[in-house]
Each structure stands twice: as structure tokens, then as C-alpha cells.
Amino acid sequence: MKVQSQSEFGTGVGTLLKITLAPTIWAFHFVISYGAAAVWCEKLTAQGDTVALQVWLIGLTAAALLGIIACGVVGWRVWGKGGYGADGHTPGLGNTESRQGFLGHASVLLSVVSFIAVIFVILPVLMIGSCT
């Protein structure tokens, strides 16, 4: 019956979900690229050329990569503060700093994977110059 605000839900899950920010950026980048290509090829272009689409998607990719780098940098800072990185050991696993350090580490790793995945996804747009 303790009257509480939504804080535990917000902060708890919120903090946990922060590690998925980079993959979420990947997901949006993916869906938008796919949707844009589908609409462009089906509705907007008659000849199947893709120059305008390429320009827009390269812009989108740049934005996505910047966002992912930002996630990685923030994660890196948190990770370092956790005292995990310096000697490669895990001092005192059971405290708040080590938990933060772990979440930071996970965000860095996920940012790296998302970065690569975004680049993978944009490659076909650059390499396949037509809809058909």
C-alpha cells in the first residue's frame, strides 16, 4: 500500500533500456530505409533510378551513426567510472558502481555491433543502383 510514483518503473526499466539505445537506432534506421526504398520504388519513381533515395538514406545513415557513436561514448564514460576497465578485473561486483560499469560496458559493446550493422544495411543502397 506504499504510495509511490512511477519512479521505479521509469528509472529501473529506463536505465536498463539505455543499453538498447544503439540497437534501437539500428532498428529505426533499418525500418526507415526499408520503408523509404519500398515507397520510392513502388510509388515515386518511374524509371527505377535511385539517386535521390541514396542521398536521403546516406543522410539518415550519417545521423544514425552519430547517434550510435554518442551512445558508445556515454557508455564508455559510465564503464570507466565503474572501475571495471582499468585493470581488467572486476572489483567488488556487488555494488552500485560495478552495476553501472557493467551497463556501460554492455552499451559500448552493443554500440559497436549496431555501428557495424548500420553500415551493413546501407551498403546495398550504395551498391545496387536501381530498383529492379
Binding site: 500500500m1 506504499k2 509511490q4 526504398a37 519500398a38 550493422a117 546495398p124 530498383c131
Partner: protein
């Protein structure tokens, strides 16, 4: 499965592509749908349970960075289920409407499009293969540290791997649709994402290898099966990479190459790890008994050799061009001997399973050595003892390490002595602790329901509500549905959110905690959130259908078509928004202590919902859904909304009744919080539905 014996198995393959499957007159497709419906309900329920369990019911102080890796895997799987199954639910809904009532969602002659089914099916289908794979490989993540007798090397890397796979696996679905004529660029996206998913998938295998290399490995049966799993899965993953390259896929699509791939991934990614799990956990379930080392080895080698002899040649038969799903072929095809090899080898696999089943079932003598933790594992489940006692653990320990049985001395002794949390129950109820998400701080005492028949009855009636319509028997189905609702309500009424005898309770170690939680502290509230997130995904898939028809056809909405009744659309949007507002206001007023006014507003919300429901009906009642996919989709959305309004009005009425019966008070108002949360989602769906059927058609044409 039984349908096969009565010649009513699904005849359209496991992915049931229309129009073949919708035109098939037999009952096979319906039975297949029935099975899928059960899986959908069960999976979503499992997702709720897994997510809430992992996030809210950990041992005190077991921070997220200390959870067993198994918990990370199932957390990710729970999340994946919430986004993978709902599109299939939406697809099934459309499919069944077409099959039973001839609404032409997938019928091109009336504006439908079979491609929508393929999209919805595979948006589910590919994540599903990882939903199968992750919990199985999670067993490996538990077995490997035990075998190496040391903590896992690179805990965060496993988390990366699980979360990364969870996300990327949603960008692969079109690799099952490479030959459907989508633009090449679109194929490229999915090909690229398929190659990218290999990175996180591969990482966990390296982590396992690293742990084994730096540890002192004790050879054991579970490890043997895990080793076999990794070997086989790696091969299956490699053929997956090949298949994801579009031109190669065009060549081998629907050949035995695919059959080889899927068996390598499923045997390596599921069967073998699960076998390892059975050998590993056998002495956990049957204390003092162990499966036979000799028979285990025999079974392993029979299955391993048999498997490779049966499925390795299929890569080659596939390359030679042998199609899937044929039962005969000409002699001149040259692949007869390869198939003969596969056939013989399949009997070897079967022999291996016979040995395994025999070993599983035969009576066994007690083994020597420690019976409680025979593998000397480090994770908490191995503290379990005491068969015959009516508790899982004597007390709930606090956890400050990843492998508590190795790293927290005297833990088990203290647990047994009752010197941790909840050693006793004050009022004789079943209870557990609910803890916070990040750091597992104890938050309140949660009363847990016990075994009951009413839940079985509810399951039985729910089953009836699905089984009868399969055979086009509708009246008993509706009766079953009604009884299912009654059973669930009865269970909710008698066993959940009960007002405690005392507001606070003593949990031991000088800690006093509340005995009741409402709002975002209550696990029930989380369950509503999670369920409705899945529900919203299904709804989004239906709305996606609207856009899909628009992009895929030049004539959607068709010219001169009848539209939804605009005035009625506005009416239901307004009424349902008001109903939502009333529910929200009732919660505040009631919490503030003005119970009378609160009840009045709750009653008003019930009436508003009913009126809104009639308006929904009025908005679409003049359309004829069998004539074209456009009215069909509008009616489909209306049916979907109507079903949710039924749920919503039951919730509102339930709160009113609880208040009148004195089971809900301003202090103890979890029910009202949960129903309000439900209504946030319902209101959102109402407004989106109104926009989609009322506004979009105008913009689109």
C-alpha cells in the same frame, strides 16, 4: 499432431501460404491455426511471466550484473516474443476471417494480397528461430562454467550477444521471401542484416570456448552434448550465411539445401543443448539419481553420427536440385543413393533416441557423492534440496556474487538454518519478495496464489473457445468463451490483490515491508503493461496492413467505395476518449478518499464504453466485408476494437464491483490502477482506429 492420423494435417506446408491454404477445403489449415493460437496465447503468457520474474522477483541484492546468464537470455526472449508473435496473431486473425467468413484479405481478385501473409508470417518466423535458439543456448551458458569450474569469461559479452541477436533477428525476415519479386534494394537490406546477425551469434560461441580454455575442464555428459551442439550449430550458421546471399538463395530455394540448413540449426541450436540440459538437470529433479555415463555416450554418438550422415548429404542433394516436399523422383536423377544414405542414417538417429529414452525411464540406484549439488555448480538453483517439504527454498538469501555457491561461503547452510529473508510466514500464506529492477532492493511482500482447479477450468474453457470454431461450431464456442471469462474473473476476485491482514510485515534481517502494492509497484501492473505492449504490436500489424495494401496496389482504397460512417467514427472516438478520462479520474478521486464519487464515475465509464461500442458498430455496419479487401480491413479493425472494448468494460465493471464489495479501498486499489493502465492502451487504439478508418482513406485517394 494427431491431425496427421486422420488425414486432416495442414496441406499447405508449415508456413501456409495463401491462396493454396485458404482455398484448401479441408479442415487441416484450421487445425494448424488452432495449434498456432495455443502457442500464441502460451508464448505471450510465458513472456509476461519471464519478464516480470527476471525483473521483479530476484533474490535481494542480486543486481542486474549478477543475474545468472540464463535470466538474461530469457529476458531477451520474452522481449522478442512480444514483438514477434503479435504480427502472427494479426496474420492469423486475417487468415481465419478469410477462411471462415470469406473476407478477402489474401484474395487478389477482390483487392487482397497474399504477400501480406508472407510478411506477417516471416516477421514472426525468423525471430521465432532465435526464440527457439536462445533459451537452449542459455543452457550451455549454465553448463559451461560448471564444467570449467570457473565463472564465465566475458559476462557482458554474452549479454551483448543475447541483446544484439534479439534486435538484429527482426531485420531478417525477407530472406525467406527473396524470390517474391521485391525490389532488389529491399532484398539487399535483409541480406545485409542476415550477415550482421552472425557477429553477436558468433561471439557467444567464442565466450564459451574461452571459458573452457582457461578452466579446468571435467569431462561429463552434459559437456559432450554441448560440444556436439556447438559443432553442428556452427555448420548450420554457415549455411545460413550462404542462404542469406540472394543469388545463392535463388538457386537453392526450396531444395534439400534448406532442409539441411534448418536441421543443422535446429539440432545444433535446440535438440543438442536441450539434451545436455536433461543430463545436467536430471539429478536436480530426481535427487540422488544420475543418468548412465555409458548409455549417454552411446546415445550421443549414435545421434551425432546418424545426424551428420543423414543431413550432411542433403547439402549436396540440394545443390543437385532436389526439391523439398517430394516423396518420389525419377531414377535418372542420380541422387537415389544419397537419399538412401539419409534414410539409413535416420534409423541410427532413432536408435540413439531409443537408448536415451530407455536410460531416462529405467529404474536407477542412488549414486555416491554429494546429492544436492553433484556437479559442484556455482549457481543458486543447486541449493535446492528437501524433496517433500512444501517450499522451494527455506529462506531467500541475499546475493552479492555471480556464482553464490562458489563465492559466498556458508550460503547454503545459512539458507537451511532459515537465517535469511522470509524464513516464516506470519499468516500462513504463500509469499515471496518483490524486488527492484536494477539492484534488487526488497520492496514488498507479494502474496502468491496456490494450486487451484479454477485455473484448470479456465484453461479448459479457453481451449473450447478455440477448438469449437475450428470445426465451425459457434454456439458452444461462445458458451465456452463466456465460462472462461467467468473462471478468470472468479480467480481474480478470490485470489488476487487481497487486502492484507496487516499493512506491514516482518521479513527477517530487521526488515519490514508493505504487504500490498498498487500501481507501478505491483507485478500485476507490469503484467498488464507487458501484455498490452504485445497487444499493441498486433494492432500495429493490422494498421501496417492498411499501408501495405496502399503501397502494393494502385487502387486502394478503391474508387467509389463505401467508407466508414464519418459521424459515427467521430462519435466513438469522443465516447471512448471520455470513457478513458472517466477511468483515470475515478482512480484519482477514489485514491483521494471520495469513494462515492469514484464509484459514480466508474459507473459512468461503463456506460460510455457501451455507447462507444455501439458507435463502432454503427460506423461500419453498412459495409459488406466480403466484397473487397478495403471494407474487410475496416471491419477487421472494428472487430478488433470491439473485442478490446469488451475487455475494457469488464475491467471497469470489475473495479466497480470490487469497490462495492469492499475488496478495493482508497489505500488498496491495485485493480483500479491496472484497469486504468489497460485503458491507456485501449484509448490509444480507439483513436488510431478512428484516424485510420476515418481520415486516412481521404488522404490516400
Amino acid at each position: 499432431m494427431g491431425s496427421v492420423l486422420f488425414d486432416s494435417g495442414p496441406r499447405g506446408g508449415w508456413f501456409m501460404y495463401p491462396p493454396l491454404s485458404t482455398m484448401d477445403e479441408g479442415v487441416g489449415a484450421d487445425i494448424w491455426l488452432l495449434g498456432l493460437s495455443f502457442i500464441e496465447v502460451a508464448s505471450i503468457a510465458a513472456a509476461v511471466e519471464l519478464i516480470v520474474g527476471v525483473l521483479k522477483c530476484r533474490s535481494p541484492r542480486m543486481r542486474v550484473n549478477l543475474m545468472p546468464l540464463y535470466a538474461w537470455y530469457v529476458l531477451v526472449v520474452g522481449g522478442m516474443i512480444l514483438f514477434a508473435f503479435p504480427p502472427l496473431i494479426a496474420g492469423d486473425f486475417l487468415f481465419e476471417m478469410e477462411k471462415s467468413f470469406d473476407w478477402p484479405f489474401f484474395d487478389p481478385t477482390r483487392g487482397g494480397d497474399p504477400m501480406l501473409w508472407q510478411h506477417l508470417f516471416w516477421i514472426f518466423g525468423h525471430p521465432e528461430v532465435y526464440i527457439i535458439f536462445l533459451p537452449s543456448i542459455a543452457i550451455a551458458a549454465m553448463v559451461v562454467p560448471t564444467v570449467a569450474q570457473r565463472p564465465i569469461v566475458g559476462y557482458s559479452w554474452i549479454v551483448l550477444s543475447a541483446v544484439g541477436v534479439g534486435f538484429l533477428s527482426f531485420g531478417l525476415w525477407v530472406h525467406h521471401m527473396f524470390t517474391t519479386g521485391l525490389p532488389n534494394i529491399s532484398l539487399g537490406f535483409f541480406s545485409a542484416a542476415s550477415e550482421a546477425v552472425v557477429i553477436p551469434t558468433g561471439i557467444q560461441i567464442f565466450v564459451f570456448a574461452a571459458t573452457l580454455m582457461v578452466g579446468k575442464v571435467k569431462k561429463s555428459l552434459p559437456m559432450l552434448w554441448i560440444a556436439g551442439a556447438l559443432a553442428i550449430f556452427t555448420l548450420g550458421g554457415l549455411t545460413g550465411v550462404m542462404l542469406a546471399i540472394a543469388p545463392f538463395n535463388w538457386a537453392v530455394l526450396d531444395t534439400y539445401f534448406v532442409v539441411a540448413h534448418l536441421h543443422y540449426t535446429l539440432f545444433g541450436g535446440m535438440i543438442f543443448p536441450v539434451m545436455a540440459g536433461i543430463y545436467y538437470f536430471y539429478p536436480f529433479f530426481r535427487k540422488g539419481k544420475m543418468m548412465s555415463e555409458t548409455l549417454g555416450r552411446l546415445s550421443f554418438w549414435l545421434i551425432f553420427v546418424g545426424f551428420n550422415a543423414a543431413f550432411l548429404p542433403m547439402h549436396y542433394t540440394g545443390m543437385m536440385g532436389m526439391p523439398r516436399r517430394v516423396y518420389t523422383y525419377g531414377e535418372s536423377m542420380d541422387w537415389g543413393w544419397l537419399n538412401m544414405l539419409s534414410t539409413v542414417a535416420s534409423f541410427v538417429i532413432a536408435a540413439g533416441f531409443v537408448v536415451f529414452v530407455f536410460d531416462l525411464l529405467r529404474p536407477k540406484r542412488d549414486f555416491d557423492g554429494p546429492k544436492r549439488n553433484p556437479w559442484n555448480a556455482g549457481t543458486l538453483e543447486w541449493s535446492h534440496d528437501v524433496p517433500g517439504e512444501s517450499w522451494g527454498v527455506r529462506t531467500i538469501p541475499f546475493i552479492t556474487s555471480r556464482y553464490p555457491l562458489w563465492q559466498q561461503p556458508q550460503l547454503v547452510e545459512r539458507m537451511d538454518a532459515g537465517r535469511f529473508y522470509l524464513g516464516d510466514t506470519e499468516f500462513g500464506h504463500r509469499e515471496t519478495l518483490v524486488t527492484s529492477v536494477l539492484d534488487a532492493k526488497p520492496q514488498h511482500i507479494q502474496r502468491v496464489t496456490g494450486p487451484a482447479y479454477i485455473t484448470m477450468l479456465a484453461a479448459g474453457f479457453t481451449g473450447g473457445a478455440f477448438i469449437f470454431p475450428t470445426f465451425h461450431i459457434y454456439v458452444p464456442a461462445i458458451i465456452c468463451g463466456a465460462f472462461a471469462i467467468v473462471c478468470v474473473l472468479y480467480w481474480l476476485w478470490t485470489s488476487t490483490a487481497q487486502i492484507p491482514e496487516e499493512p506491514m510485515g516482518d521479513v527477517g534481517l530487521d526488515l519490514r515491508l508493505p504487504r500490498y502494492a498498487s500501481g507501478s509497484d505491483a507485478p500485476g501492473w507490469w503484467a498488464v503493461w507487458i501484455t498490452m505492449l504485445g497487444d499493441a504490436t498486433a494492432f500495429a500489424s493490422l494498421v501496417f496492413g492498411f499501408f501495405f495494401y496502399w503501397t502494393a496496389s494502385d487502387n486502394f482504397p478503391p474508387q467509389g467505395a463505401l467508407h466508414a460512417n464519418g459521424a459515427m467514427v467521430v462519435a466513438f472516438a469522443v465516447l471512448l476518449a471520455l470513457s478513458w478520462a472517466a477511468t483515470r479520474v475515478a482512480r484519482g478521486v477514489h485514491r483521494g478518499g471520495n469513494v462515492g464519487l469514484g464509484r459514480l464515475v466508474m459507473a459512468a465509464s461503463v456506460l460510455l464504453t457501451l455507447a462507444g461500442g455501439f458507435a463502432v458498430y454503427g460506423a461500419v455496419s453498412h459495409l459488406s466485408p466480403t466484397s473487397h479487401v478495403y471494407p474487410a480491413l475496416i471491419c477487421g479493425l472494428a472487430v478488433w476494437l470491439g473485442a478490446h472494448l469488451l475487455l475494457g468494460v469488464i475491467g471497469q465493471g470489475y473495479c466497480l464491483a470490487r469497490s462495492l464489495a469492499g475488496r478495493m479501498t482508497p489505500l488498496y486499489d491495485a485493480d483500479l490502477h491496472n484497469v486504468t493502465l489497460l485503458w491507456h492502451f485501449i484509448a490509444l487504439q480507439s483513436l488510431v482506429t478512428a484516424a485510420v478508418i476515418g481520415l486516412l482513406p481521404g488522404w490516400m485517394s
